[in-house]
Every structure is written in structure tokens, then in C-alpha cells.
């Protein structure tokens, strides 16, 4: 039960933040986003406090969360959060509290791998030391810091560890996925009459996949990374399609949370930024603020981490941290310069092609350099996806849908999905060049990292196919509108697409 007393304030913090500086015109979405956004905000807050040497204990963390929550609630009230919004938030919070009360008494978390225990050990060390001691920092070269800091909040409960955290995040992701898909289809003009049914079908098909369910119970980094990558890409995409910059602050908070999840995620963050902000038609000012803030946070963390790592480390080393920090800084400068340079804007327009070519060349180079290593890794990865019991026949069905989807007209601003997702797969394969080959088995890194892309693949297929179901309706609408136009000089816009 005591874990609910941590999760509910996090949920409320997230709701307040979304109403204060997120998509406040969509109260159901703000409420659905409550827990993931509140968790991300609390972790970023706790990490910032530890970096300025404020003691990490239940009192300081509780006070910081209370202050942040009150400030966000004040901001939400000033921005016109009305009675209807409060009623929706109240109902949603009651449902979330009921869910927490149901899951908190039972430990169904999967902790069978040493990885889960390493994450929990680091979290316990942080809680015991009251902050990030040098010895703890040195061990963070193997792990992202997000889940470690999230689990170090167990001091706010009376439990040994937050066994319900992955389950709470996974269950709260289900309505987030459904509501975001609903809004995406709405912005694409899909017929509302069967939208809920189709959204329900897509959501049910995704969240019954055995491997995803496994990760919803597994204490590790991949589910969290997948949730926050999904939030950034989808929220940015909807912001772009609707020309509504109010989604950006929460989207970029999700990007920071994603980048803090794993050692390689800052690289993927730069990749998805290249496919989103460089080609965006949103106003530059809100993008600039969000990009500067998130990049500064990520760079600062990487530089602090670099100061404590060993140059002989297996995963992150000071050199690799500097490289990733440099990538992030370089990307921000590139984006800033694009306002004044036609050449940069010209390159930005060809960014999807550039990224595809870079990924292809990098993989070809690695394949030429270490063919056995790369082929063995690719084979193990494919073996895991097609033969492990947790996946079943999932990938055969998804691949069939992807192939059929090639014939369907794509949605607008598709590059983050159409190029970004294959590029993410390429990055997974690219990374193995620098480490031991991927292996056959459930716990293999590539197999786990695939979970991070899975919700985005299903989402992209849905926004591609579902509007196609209305084609005949639209076609007849278009014909009748054209007939109306003959008699009227006013041009009628029927659909955005």
C-alpha cells in the first residue's frame, strides 16, 4: 500500500505539469500522462538536487516534489484549468489510485537477472549515502541513471524496493498509448464513429504481446526507455501536424527521461532530434527553449558522469561521454545556425536521406571490418525475435503489415517514424561492433532494445492504415465538395490530408 502513497503524488505532479505547460486543451491526455510525466519530473529533480550536493532523502525529495507540484498547480490555475478539468483529473486520479492499491500488495516484479539487482543495488547505495558518491558514479558507467534514481525513491515508502514501479509505469502507459493514438487519428481526420473501436483493437493487440508484458513486470531500463521515446516522438509529431507548440515542453521532458535511461540513449536522442526539430515548421522560439533546456541538462549530466568514470570502462568511458555531450552540443549549434544559413536548411530538408545513408554506410563499414561478429549478432537477434516463446509469431505478423503498409499513402511528417525506426534498429546493430556479440536468449541486449521500438511501430502502422479505411468516404466527400465548388467561388478545405 505504501508504494501507492508515492505513486499518487507523482501522478498528481505530472497532471499539474501537463496542465501548466503541456497540452492543456486535452484534459484526458494530461491526466493519462500524469504518472510517466510525474516520474520523469521527480527523477530529473532528484538528479539535479544530487548534482548540487543537496542530500537525497525522503524529506528533501518530498519537499522538492511538493514545491514543484504546487508551482505547477498554480501555473495550471493561471492558465485557466477549469472545473471540468478538475473533475476529469479527480476521476482519473481515483482510477489511478485504485489501480495502485490493487497492484501494491503483490510483488509480481521479475528480478531473475543480475541486471535488475545491479540497478536496485545502486538505488540502495544512493538511498544509503544520501546522494551520488564517487563509487556509485563510477558504477553508473554500465547503466543509465533514470531507473536507479527512480528506485532510490523507495525511502519515501516503507518497502525494501519499488517492486510495483515497472508495473505502474506499464499500466499507465496503456491509456497514454490509446489517448495519443486517438488524438493522432483525430488530427488525421479519421472518421470518429469507429475510432474508439480501432484504437481499442490496436491497444489490445500491442499490450497483449508476451514480450511487452514481460517487460512491464521486469525491473530493467527498456520499458521506461520505450515509454519515453514513444512520448517524445508521438507528441512532437502531433504538435507538428496540428501546428500546436504547447506539446513541446512535456515532449522534451520525455526526451531527457529517455536519454537518461541507458548508456546509448543520448545517441538515439540526437538521431530522433535530427528527424524532428530540423524539419519542423513549428515556431522556432518554443523549440529553441525546449531544445536548449533539454540539451543543457543532458550535457551537464554526461560531463559530471565523465569526471567519475574509468577510461578503461567496458561501456561508458570519459571519452565516450564527452563525445555524446559534444554530439548534443553540436546538434544544438547546428539547429541555431539553421535560422541564418540556407545551406544548413537545404541539408536539413534532406536529413532523412542523410541519416539513412549514414546508417547504411556505417553498418556496411562495420560488416566489412568484422563480418563474423556482425553476422553472428544479426543472426542471434533475428533468432530471438522469431523463435523465443515470449515473441511467438508477433514479428511475422508485424512484418507482413509493414510490407502491406508500403502501398498505403503515408501520414504527414512521417520521417521520424519511416526513417527513425529503421535507423533505431540500425543503431542497435551498430553498437554491437564495440562489444561482445549479441547472444541467443531472452536477456540479450538487442532483444530487450527491440521493446523500445515496438510501441512506435504499432502506432505508425495504425496512423498509416486507419485513415485508409475512410478512403471511400473521403473520395465521395471530395467529389461532392468539388461539385459544390463549381457553384461557389470559396475554396473548401475538406480534409487536411
Amino acid at each position: 500500500m505504501s508504494q501507492s502513497l508515492l505513486f499518487i503524488p507523482l501522478h498528481l505532479l505530472g497532471i499539474a505539469l501537463c496542465f501548466a505547460c503541456g497540452p492543456r486543451r486535452r484534459p484526458a491526455l494530461c491526466c493519462a500522462l500524469g504518472f510517466p510525466v510525474g516520474l520523469a519530473a521527480a527523477v530529473v529533480l532528484a538528479l539535479a538536487m544530487m548534482m548540487v550536493r543537496i542530500r537525497h532523502d525522503p524529506w528533501t525529495l518530498g519537499a522538492a516534489m511538493a514545491i514543484a507540484g504546487l508551482a505547477a498547480a498554480f501555473g495550471a490555475a493561471r492558465r485557466g484549468m477549469g472545473r471540468r478539468d478538475l473533475a476529469i483529473a479527480g476521476a482519473w486520479t481515483a482510477a489511478f489510485a485504485a489501480m495502485c492499491a490493487a497492484i501494491s500488495p503483490f510483488n509480481v516484479a521479475i528480478l531473475t537477472s543480475i541486471d535488475s539487482h545491479r540497478i536496485l543495488s545502486l538505488a540502495i547505495a544512493i538511498a544509503n549515502d544520501g546522494g551520488l558518491e564517487p563509487a556509485t558514479m563510477a558504477r553508473l558507467g554500465h547503466w543509465g541513471v533514470f531507473q536507479v534514481v527512480a528506485h532510490s525513491m523507495m525511502g519515501l515508502t516503507r518497502q525494501d524496493f519499488l517492486y510495483s514501479l515497472p508495473l505502474a509505469l506499464g499500466l499507465s502507459f496503456i491509456p497514454v498509448f490509446a489517448v495519443l493514438l486517438w488524438h493522432a487519428l483525430e488530427s488525421l481526420g479519421a472518421a470518429p464513429r469507429r475510432r474508439w473501436l480501432l484504437v481499442g483493437l490496436v491497444t489490445a493487440a500491442l499490450f497483449t504481446i508476451g514480450a511487452l508484458d514481460y517487460h512491464i513486470l521486469y525491473i530493467h531500463t527498456n520499458l521506461g526507455a520505450g515509454v519515453y521515446l514513444f512520448l517524445f516522438l508521438v507528441m512532437f509529431w502531433i504538435a507538428e501536424v496540428e501546428r500546436d507548440a504547447s506539446w513541446l515542453p512535456v515532449a522534451f521532458l520525455a526526451l531527457v527521461a529517455f536519454a537518461l535511461h541507458r548508456t546509448e540513449t543520448p545517441i538515439v536522442a540526437v538521431l530522433v532530434l535530427s528527424l524532428t526539430v530540423t524539419r519542423s515548421e513549428l515556431p522556432r522560439r518554443p523549440i529553441g527553449f525546449a531544445l536548449a533546456g533539454s540539451s543543457a541538462g543532458m550535457i551537464l549530466w554526461l560531463e559530471v558522469l565523465a569526471a567519475h568514470l574509468s577510461p578503461e570502462g567496458d561501456f561508458l568511458t570519459p571519452g565516450r561521454c564527452h563525445l555524446m555531450a559534444g554530439l548534443l552540443a553540436g546538434f544544438f549549434l547546428w539547429w541555431a545556425a539553421s535560422a541564418r544559413s540556407e545551406i544548413i536548411r537545404c541539408i536539413d530538408r534532406r536529413m532523412p536521406l542523410l541519416i539513412s545513408a549514414t546508417c547504411a554506410l556505417a553498418l556496411a563499414g562495420e560488416l566489412a571490418s568484422r563480418p563474423d561478429h556482425m553476422i553472428a549478432s544479426a543472426r542471434s537477434w533475428a533468432f530471438n525475435l522469431t523463435t523465443l516463446p515470449l515473441w511467438g509469431q508477433t514479428w511475422f505478423i508485424i512484418l507482413a503489415l509493414v510490407v502491406i503498409g508500403l502501398a498505403v499513402a503515408p501520414p504527414p511528417f512521417r520521417a521520424p517514424f519511416a526513417v527513425g525506426l529503421p535507423a533505431c534498429f540500425a543503431v542497435v546493430l551498430f553498437l554491437v561492433y564495440f562489444r561482445a556479440p549479441y547472444r541467443e536468449g531472452r536477456g540479450d541486449s538487442a532483444n530487450r532494445m527491440t521493446i523500445q521500438m515496438l510501441p512506435l511501430i504499432v502506432f505508425y502502422l495504425a496512423i498509416k492504415f486507419i485513415p485508409a479505411l475512410d478512403c471511400r468516404t473521403r473520395d465521395s466527400q471530395r467529389r461532392s465538395a468539388t461539385a459544390a465548388e463549381i457553384g461557389s467561388p470559396v475554396r473548401t478545405s475538406i480534409q487536411r490530408n
Binding site: 509480481v108 540502495i124 508477433t394 508485424i398 502491406i404 492504415f465 471511400r472
Partner: protein
């Protein structure tokens, strides 16, 4: 180019609608596959792959693991819970465990110059005295735990923790030979059973 050809073939509105229907059928197939999979495997998979309740104490979760590394963590979680900030002397062979013991168990760790072994008869003496899971052997001084070994009929001790509320000075000792239990005991108790 391939997608353009495909779109020219199937991308007309009526055909697109058919593709949309194909997607719905594909999703229904995926959902059906997943439901059948879940129903089929929920009873067949091991506890590590399906919904299965575990203890809420971290030490007990680790202790149930068959992986020796994780089993050892169970001891560290226990020490963090029972004797935080105590002084612990470890044998030289345990030097690599020092950082983890300091961080995870909040102990002040000293490394001994050599091995710390209990007398050969001590393990048998414990066994005869009836050490069982969660059972006190002598008042509140001793707290031992055993666990069933995988695929074995007998119970073996994983570690034995001798707790004394009056002391903050402990040692880690090992039984002579391979595969015996690990002892964490007050220095005074170790002095009485150390191998000569």
C-alpha cells in the same frame, strides 16, 4: 520507387480501403495470437517469465535465485537491514566484494591478510543443532537460514548469519573446502570456532 509502384497498383481509394481492412484483420490475428499465447504459456512458463508473486523483501527475492551471484546479494541486503554501519572484517579472497559491501550494506569493511575459516566440525555442529530456515539456534544470538539446493533432496546452508544485538564488530568466515556456507558472525563468536 518500390513504394510508388505499389501505391500505383493498390493506392487508389477503394484499394486503400481494402488495405485498411487487411490491417484490421492483421491486428485481430495478432490479438488472437497473443491471447492464445498468454493462455497457453501462463501455465507452462517458469515463474521468471510470467505473472508470479514473489516475497516483498528484497533479500528473500534474491535468496530464492538459483544464480550464485544473486544469492550472495541476498546476504548483502540482509546485512543492510540488520547491521548497518557495523564493522566487518572479510577474508582476503573477498577483496572484490568490499565496495559492494560498503555501498549496499553500509558497513565499514576491513580486509584480513588471509583466510578466515571456521573449525571443520562447526558446520556439522550447526547441522546437528537443527539449523533451519528462519530458526533461532541459541536465543537471539544465532539466526541461520538454509535453503533447498536445486535438484537435491537435502537442505544446504547458503549463508549463516549469527546476529548479536550487543555487538557491532563482525567477521565473514568460510567453511573449509568448496561449497560450504558463508558465515557472518560476531568477532567474539568467531574467536571460539576459528580453525586453529
Amino acid at each position: 520507387m518500390v513504394t510508388n509502384v505499389l501505391r500505383r497498383m493498390w493506392g487508389q481509394p477503394a484499394a486503400s480501403r481494402r488495405l485498411g481492412i487487411a490491417f484490421v484483420v492483421g491486428l485481430a490475428l495478432l490479438l488472437g495470437h497473443n491471447v492464445v499465447w498468454l493462455a497457453h504459456h501462463q501455465t507452462r512458463l517458469s515463474c521468471s517469465e510470467r505473472v508470479c508473486t514473489s516475497p516483498r523483501r528484497l533479500e528473500r527475492v534474491a535468496w530464492r535465485s538459483r544464480t550464485p551471484k544473486i544469492s550472495l546479494l541476498a546476504l548483502y541486503y540482509l546485512l543492510n537491514d540488520r547491521i548497518p554501519h557495523a564493522r566487518l572484517t572479510i577474508p582476503s579472497s573477498w577483496r572484490r566484494e568490499k565496495p559492494q559491501l560498503e555501498e549496499l550494506s553500509r558497513l565499514e569493511v576491513d580486509v584480513s591478510d588471509g583466510e578466515l575459516l571456521v573449525a571443520p566440525g562447526y558446520v556439522e555442529q550447526l547441522r546437528r543443532s537443527g539449523a533451519r530456515r528462519h530458526r533461532s539456534i541459541r536465543g537471539d544470538l544465532t539466526w541461520a537460514r538454509t535453503r533447498p539446493a536445486p535438484d537435491m533432496a537435502v537442505e544446504v546452508e547458503d549463508y549463516v548469519f549469527l546476529f548479536d544485538a550487543a555487538t557491532t564488530d563482525y567477521v565473514v568466515a568460510e567453511a573449509p573446502g568448496e561449497g560450504g556456507p558463508i558465515f557472518v558472525m560476531p568477532r567474539s563468536a568467531y574467536a571460539g570456532v576459528a580453525a586453529r
